[in-house]
Amino acid sequence: MFICNHCPFVKHVNPEIVKLAAEYEKKGIGFIAISSNDVENYPQDAPDLMKDNAKQMGYTFPYLYDATQETAKAYKAACTPDFYLFDTNLELVYRGQLDDSRPGNGIPLTGRDLRRAMDALLEGKEIDQDQKPSIGCNIKWKA
């Protein structure tokens, strides 16, 4: 998943991604968080503050800093948060939103969409290809 420190959309989903990682890491799914934001214009996303944020939020997964933004480009990441789920062959099986909840829309944060995809993947079932895009802050590209 592509996330960052400062974006309100990420702050909104933080409790759920921590919960999901706790539940699904023990089932064998690896979680990786990456921040690719330009830290010159967005100093809140600097790597030392990412480290602080990871500790504060209780991230059990690595929080990687994509200084060159090459990884975000390779994954065609657009926003934070942006979620990707790969199978054991590292082929993409789900991408898009965590669930329908957004800051202020009143819909409870459940992780429903990503949960369904991970459950189907673990059970060897077909994953619904009707997938909704995530919505968030744009990745802060360097000029």
Binding site: I32, M50, K51, Y75, D82, T88, L90, L92, Y94, G96
Partner: protein
């Protein structure tokens, strides 16, 4: 607050390899080392 949607990378795309710094451990890690451990 800008609202930007995912690009929705095509399903079936193979995860691009990367090598990045873990901000917590300050070590360089890659996808192969971090991917899930579940076998077929």
């Amino acid at each position: 607050m800008s609202r930007t949607p995912s690009n929705m990378l095509p399903l079936g795309t193979v995860a691009p390899e990367f090598s990045l710094t873990d901000t917590v451990t300050e070590k360089t890690v890659n996808l192969q080392a971090l991917k899930g451990k579940r076998e077929h």
